[in-house]
């Protein structure tokens, strides 16, 4: 019987590395973050007892989506930063690459493992948040209906509409999707940095800087392109910032969604495409560096 011919690209091999990475990360209790998220959710509701329902829903949405963004970004950086150095330290990478597994498949498997972890975590956090918001909204609706049971129908409808408007809306899910995109981008960039970093602390520190600079990138870009009076040194520096770093401010749409802004589908699609574009480029660059790395 002839052995099956070796395939240059195998989704099955990538899947095996993906599931293995996910299992490994799960064993390191990364999901504890979800417990903290739950505590943040409960903790913030203690503060809100004294507020009106609009204020309560506003804070609940801000805090929950903000916490989702922080935790997912943290998870993306910390979980990805340790993947390659840990595999080198444990010598797992040699076992894997000694087999006919191309390096880019190894990297893709690792990245997909982290992305799967992020997807699961964000989904769980989103379900928790939506459940809390939904139950609070229902409670306020019932309370309003009871209080205004004798009021004219129009007044009751206005009051109920106000509760609905302040509560759960479909755009929140678009915001959650953008949180995932931002975390994916950070994971891909962390993977790129970790391919040439020697320790995971270095990777994490670099990524913290990237995170802050990424949020300033739009300001640097506009200054570079519009302020002609700046010196060449300053403009050169701003150009480097604008070209190298991702514009993370583009992915901060949750604040406005919570405020009631509606994200048009075209803008959402372009933001998503830009996110995917970043992930692909950073993964390609990571593969290129990792292919030349001496192990």
């Amino acid at each position: 019987m002839n052995p099956a011919p070796h395939r240059v690209f195998s989704p099955a091999r990538i899947f095996a590395i993906t599931t293995n990475t996910l299992t490994e990360l799960t064993r390191q209790k990364v999901f504890c973050v979800l417990l903290i998220f739950g505590l943040v959710l409960i903790g913030s509701s203690v503060f809100m007892a004294r507020f009106t329902f609009q204020q309560e829903f506003q804070i609940l949405k801000d805090v929950s989506l903000g916490a989702m963004s922080i935790f997912s970004s943290l998870m993306a950086v910390v979980a990805t930063a340790r993947l390659i150095p840990q595999d080198i330290e444990d010598r797992t990478v040699y076992t894997i690459l000694a087999k006919p597994v191309p390096r880019f498949e190894y990297l893709l498997g690792k990245l997909f493992g982290v992305l799967l972890l992020l997807a699961i975590s964000i989904a769980v956090m989103a379900v928790l948040f939506v459940a809390v918001l939904y139950f609070r909204e229902q409670a306020v609706l019932n309370e309003t209906a009871r209080e205004l049971s004798r009021a004219p129908e129009e007044q009751l409808n206005d009051a109920l509409n106000a509760v609905h408007a302040a509560g759960l809306n479909i755009d929140i899910f678009a915001g959650v999707a953008v949180i995932f995109l931002k975390a994916s981008l950070l994971a891909a960039l962390t993977l790129l940095v970790s391919t040439f970093a020697t320790t995971n602390i270095f990777t994490v520190v670099v990524m913290v800087f990237v995170y802050f600079i990424g949020h300033l990138q739009a300001t640097a870009r506009e200054y570079w392109l519009e302020q002609q009076s700046a010196g060449w040194l300053a403009r050169g520096f701003l150009a480097l910032v604008a070209l190298i770093f991702p514009d993370l401010q583009t992915f901060n749409v949750i604040d406005e969604i919570v405020a009631g802004a509606v994200i048009p589908l075209a803008i959402f699609t372009k933001t998503a495409l830009l996110g995917v574009f970043y992930v692909v480029i950073y993964t390609l660059a990571a593969t290129f560096v990792f292919n030349g790395k001496e192990l």
Partner: protein, 255 residues
């Protein structure tokens, strides 16, 4: 090392390609009022260095909520200066949240102004009234700036109308802002009625108020609320409307 430099070159080339897309997207975001808060020196002065860093890192909403809770605590302690200071920060951070503008105006024009007029530590009535008026003006300023940032939100127009009615006794401006509120999408049905009620209190505007109230009365049975009927009756008498054109007297309540 050469590979790292080559990877950097790839990212630079990609950076050049993505630049027009990023700029176009940022512009579209601004047009759609998504993330168009300017993180400039003015904001930094208002929220301090640490707050500015937090705002830059994408935690603007959470920071605004934290300051809002602090403002609430300051209100409970009746520290009005601090309430004003914190609400200025909150609204600078989240200008597209009408709720914050509304709460800020309510604190100033209703709570702080009431505290000022009842301030026993200030023996001179004139100074108490002056302080009260300053708080009214602060509340009005919050609402006007809130409307500027959220021109499609009926709630802020309503609050400004209420402020004109209750604090300035200016029924003409109150009517104007209730009408503006009614013109916004998603405005509650009572805004049109309130606009007409307020107009009915304005000297010299009775004929216009009568036309508006009568239109509402004729529009549907649901609009024929006690206040509307009372104001219509008042205007019918004042304008000497012929008996045949007057609305019927409301039926006496059945026992």
């Amino acid at each position: 090392m050469s590979r790292i430099l080559f990877a950097l070159a790839i990212i630079l080339v990609f950076g050049g390609l993505k630049l027009p897309l990023e700029r176009a997207l940022a512009l579209q975001h601004r047009q759609a009022h998504v993330g168009d808060v300017e993180l400039n020196l003015d904001l930094r002065e208002k929220i301090g260095q640490l707050g500015f860093v937090a705002a830059l890192s994408g935690f603007r909403a959470m920071l605004a909520d934290f300051l809002f809770v602090q403002a609430h605590v300051a209100w409970e302690r009746t520290e009005w200066g601090r309430v004003l200071f914190l609400f200025r920060q909150v609204t600078a951070l989240q200008p597209h949240v009408p709720l914050f503008w509304d709460a800020a105006a309510w604190q100033m024009a209703w709570n702080a102004s009431a505290a000022a007029i009842n301030d026993r530590s200030q023996p001179r009535q004139a100074l108490r009234v002056k302080a009260q008026r300053e708080y009214f003006a602060l509340g009005k300023d919050f609402l006007e700036r809130g409307i500027k940032n959220n021109p499609r939100n009926p709630k802020l127009y309503e609050s400004l109308a209420r402020l004109y009615r209750e604090k300035y006794n200016d029924h003409a401006r109150a009517s104007e802002f209730y009408r503006k509120a009614a013109d916004q999408p998603g405005a509650p049905g009572y805004d049109r009625r309130f606009s007409a009620y307020e107009l009915s209190y304005c000297e010299g505007w009775e004929p216009q108020a009568y036309i508006q109230l009568r239109r509402l009365y004729d529009e549907s049975e649901r609009e024929r609320l006690p206040t509307l009927i009372t104001r219509l009756k008042f205007l019918e008498n004042k304008l000497n409307i012929p008996q045949g054109q007057r609305i019927p007297d409301p039926e006496p309540k059945k026992r």
